[in-house]
Symmetry: C2
Subunit: 344 residues, 2 copies
């Protein structure tokens, strides 16, 4: 089995090494082909490794850092203060070839911004996109991108996002010949913005992309498409709108005025509905969800939820492994060559 | 009391004259200052007036038309076939000064498109905007615009929308010194698109606009602002996203798999939650809601829900009256002079 090396920013997230280091060890146990670079403060990491089997330790290297980009820092500040931080170094080791992907539970905006500064775009890609696989009503998932990496996108960028989304839907979500749609405000060809219409023309003509046309935002959770493409501004607004509506519904179910008049069973039903909603749709905020992926750079960057527990962070590591082992970036490059005009 | 004349496109909507004519008569009874032009097919209207008091009939004029723009027609087709339709003539009588506002339950896209063709923008306004007052968690309403009249907006247009929204929030919703925010993907000044940043600069400097900064889409229903401004593409996507999430939740409450295992009380709780959700948030689709208003033209255009019943259509007539009697357009013109650089 081919070895693969991932870099983990173990200092990021709400709980830092207390969660990320045990998750790293769990991943090493599960995947014998895996080698990990733990990027962080050795004084915080070493105590968590005391009882670790020496065979596991051989596949683990600590890359010492002194500082960390905190969760609430602005991008401009993160850029100024990035040197020597665990996030920056996790990206540097991808650039130098020591690792093929990285996982961080740190600040999403900073991670996106620094990744774009440190890593070059994949050949044939204008700009990377932030992507997530959203659960839909048919019990499957829809890959949605871009969610905020680029507030302005031209038609070619949107078409490239479509290709990247299709490869991820195929290779990671496991959908054969995934349907690809562009988010628009109507389904007629003449609807919407110029860049969307340009992307539509490119995708209509593209072989090996199953382009199904425009989709409106009210169809986002219905499972009518496997990949939904939009610019980063609209994607970010869309996800945050969903988060806002869900939050209102949850508070609606908690409404105390009604509760005082109700019996235990009624409260239980509300609680049950609430749990199911949280379970299915709880993490839709692009700043918070687990396993968002910045794709289109030379190296994969996986964003784990800031509040991730050991299991979630291990799942993000697994996602990074899949991106490498299933050769997603290579597939994207090959597919781009086939379907789209070269951008250089 | 000052007389006012409204034009009603009585042929639009799912039920046509059967709903719109009784609603018109109801409004005439309630408002002695009101005169109405019923634009439509006399053969469909006259039978509904047989039992009407002759005193009421004196304030009612039928403007005969032969055709109607159907609910599902595309804008391009509506433009081609507009001559002689009830919608076109309802707009023509505003242009000629015979009426000050019109109400239609017809196709939203066609109504917006034709209104822009027929009516000129208000002095100082670049483009009209489609606006709605959305219910929020604090039991109040937030005026949101633009919802689709303009897919591309520059900074000045957004600033003008802010002024129009503020006047409507003050005069129609009844909020003193309404808070005005711009929809953006973060709250930092450097976030988002150039046009939003330009609008922010204009609004910061504008006297008599209570500008509170950027708001993210997850705050849309929380009541943190009284007016929320965005371009028509983003506004349309946002409202449709909300509609989609609400639809998923409603179907989630209907889920039959669970129901078979549950007793009557559980079903009743689900039904009750569902009713309350529909009641509070049921009509969020920009193509469907009641009382959307196209503002910024010389004459007010109110869009009634296509499935409106007599009461809803009468409410839309009342809203049109309020727009005229509370001199919203005049207030907008005056406020623009005070707060923004002249566009001509």
């Amino acid at each position: 089995m081919r070895r693969l090396t991932l870099a983990l920013d173990v200092m990021g997230g709400d709980f830092g090494p207390a969660v990320t280091v045990p998750a790293a060890l769990q991943a090493l146990v599960s995947y014998p082909q895996l080698e990990l670079l733990l990027i962080g403060n050795p004084a915080a990491i070493n105590p968590l490794l005391v009882k670790t089997d020496s065979v596991l330790l051989e596949r683990l290297t600590i890359v010492p850092t002194e500082s960390v980009i905190t969760g609430d820092v602005k991008l401009s500040q993160a850029v100024r203060e990035r040197r020597g931080t665990s996030m920056q170094i996790a990206l540097d080791v991808i650039k130098s070839g020591q690792a093929q992907a990285c996982v961080s539970a740190g600040n999403t905006g900073a991670l996106m911004g620094l990744a774009k500064l440190v890593l070059k775009p994949l050949k044939g890609i204008e700009r990377p996109a932030l992507l997530v696989a959203l659960p839909h009503q048919q019990k499957g998932k829809t890959v949605v991108l871009d969610l905020g990496a680029n507030v302005v996108c031209d038609g070619l960028m949107l078409a490239q996002f479509a290709v990247m989304g299709a490869v991820i839907a195929e290779r990671i979500v496991g959908i054969n010949n995934p349907r690809v749609a562009l988010l628009n405000i109507g389904v007629e060809e003449t609807k919407g913005l110029n860049n969307i219409q340009q992307a539509a023309m490119m995708l209509q003509d593209a072989p090996s992309i199953n382009y199904i046309g425009y989709l409106e935002a009210n169809e986002l959770l219905t499972g009518k498409t496997d990949v939904l493409v939009c610019d980063g501004f609209v994607g970010n607004v869309t996800l945050k709108t969903m988060e806002g509506v869900i939050r209102v519904f949850l508070s609606f179910l908690e409404s105390s005025r009604e509760s005082s008049r109700q019996g235990c069973l009624v409260k239980w039903v509300k609680w049950w509905i609430k749990r199911r909603l949280i379970c299915q749709f709880g993490q839709l905020n692009p700043d918070k969800y687990n396993g968002a992926c910045l794709v289109g750079l030379r190296g994969t960057v996986i964003k784990s939820h800031g509040a991730a527990n050991q299991r979630s962070f291990a799942a993000a590591i697994e996602q990074a492994m899949q991106m490498v082992e299933r050769q997603v970036l290579e597939q994207i490059a090959a597919r781009l060559d086939m379907v789209l005009p070269k951008s250089d």
